[in-house]
Subunit: 186 residues, 4 copies
């Protein structure tokens, strides 16, 4: 049996019990056959400083290697102040440098998020799309998924409790995997 | 010889001598073999009013038909007040309605623009990309091209005078055509 | 008794029964003493064409005059394709031209919207803010109000039915009027 | 003589010889009488993690205190991947938390940037404005200043070498100080 193809999942929040981290874990359990979703951590990355480009810290090297080994990347992110968290942008900046040696270019991307508010990270997602375009990442345009966190959103086993919501997210993930294949086959 | 495949070009300015219209015309003359670029006019479209969805005006019907017949769409647009012109957004709105009967979804898109200022329509282009994503149009992410209009930008025959700039735009157009094929082959 | 000070209200939808038009009307009935909110219509404006700058159509002249006579402007807008409607941007473009003779600069602005979806026009509002900044309109930053249209949102008399929502909108309007005064006193 | 009123300056780049840091220093030397511009460093801030809200690290406490003591804040930032650097957004996130105890709200803000490219940080600035609006910071709308870094941009004494550019930046700074006073007087 061939090894599953890897899709990296970058979570925009460092909080241990983050809704978005739990969503990423739920997502991982929903991966279709032949695909494996793996969370790529950003917690150990230093603040990006161009002066370090010549001798990147070990966590930077590791982060870039892991992203480079993925067939696609899913960003699961909260919204902070109507944008993406600084910690997520910091990871994107690290992965894009030094000039000419970034790891994002050409990698298919998907965007997802959950928040306590009704807006469901819509503004963070839209801004993230602009950044991903500048990184030359072909990004799944539709469907968009905006999730509102409520008590009981996650079942005891970590999955998405509500049937309709779970189907929505499964549909999104299937569309994303098809998108990754489409970009690769071309 | 098989008919050329059509790519629609929508110009964001109504001004007769618009730099962007002239850029669209120059672009049309640079189409690779097997492809034809055709400007799809937006000047006759009424202001979009949802009350007319049931009985669209003739120019609306025609506009949607022409877009529907294209393999991809290039938007060549100036920047008005740090965004796209209202007339261009009006055309996008018409093409997206009524719900479920829009013509944009799935059609590969490209974004280009020229302006007298140094920013070269960068803010208009970025906003347009967000709108195109919401319309489910897979949009060429890179290269981005920002052109500054100067005297002598266009040669007497309507082409782009400067060699380096012409090669830049030709490179963009070739990348766009490859993008259209890639999306279609998938 | 001195004449009330006028605040213009521009509605982003042309639909007769538009939720946003009804919200604008409800808002007008909530104006504090000494202030009058008047809807400034955009329906008769032609598509903006720079070639007409020298001889603007009568509706353009009238629109600009009415805006020029207002102490501030409230934009009440739906979201079309994750941005503001083209018809609203068209009105903004008209009011900004010709160069040096626009009517927006320095006029305090507020942004509001209602939509059937949960996002409540958040993406339209954010984009509109960017445009208003480029027009040099000092725009009330907080509170933001995102309203979701539901059956029974409006009472029989046209007001906002739900008490909490009405207080939210009244609070927003009071903050906006204070904002207009603050900018003027300076 | 009364103490000068303080304006904080936050630089979006950590690079030692950053153009934007040098621009911030040049700006500080141009402060009008009665005002002092002080760079507030962001380099020691940890990655924001909501789990630390209860016991913020010392650099976080210090950063928030210094911002709280300023009459206004100027952001001088490069553009990374068509947005603001993650390190700057990280500082904005820190200053905004925990909920109800942020330091940004109501503080007048200004946005400036310099980059090697022709776009001069236009896309970073526009995005930053959206974030500042969500933080309830009244932000100077016009003039906008987009600076392109070239050899010799800075004179030997650290000032801006070119006369016209220096006047442009001085005009911007004067407008910003007037903006700070206007917001405060209200």
């Amino acid at each position: 049996m061939p090894a599953a193809q890897r899709i990296g999942v970058v979570v925009g929040s460092l909080r241990r019990d983050s809704f978005n981290r739990r969503l990423a874990q739920a997502l991982a359990s929903m991966a279709p056959d032949g695909w494996a979703l793996e969370i790529v951590e950003i917690r150990e990355l230093p603040l990006y400083d161009q002066d370090d480009d010549g001798s990147p810290a070990e966590p930077v090297r590791r982060f870039k290697e892991r992203i480079a080994g993925c067939r696609g990347v899913i960003f699961v992110t909260p919204e902070y102040n109507r944008s993406i968290p600084g910690v997520l942008k910091n990871a994107l900046d690290h992965g894009s440098r030094p000039y000419g040696r970034g790891v994002w270019s050409g990698k298919p991307a998907g965007v997802l998020g959950i928040s306590p508010g009704a807006l469901g990270t819509a503004l963070a997602q839209q801004h993230l799309r602009s950044v991903l375009a500048s990184l030359a990442m072909p990004t799944l345009a539709q469907p968009e998924v905006y999730l509102q966190a409520r008590d009981g959103f996650f079942a005891a086993d970590g999955g998405i409790a509500d049937d309709a919501t779970r189907r929505l997210v499964q549909g999104w993930l299937d569309a994303f995997v098809a998108w990754v294949q489409q970009q690769a086959d071309a």
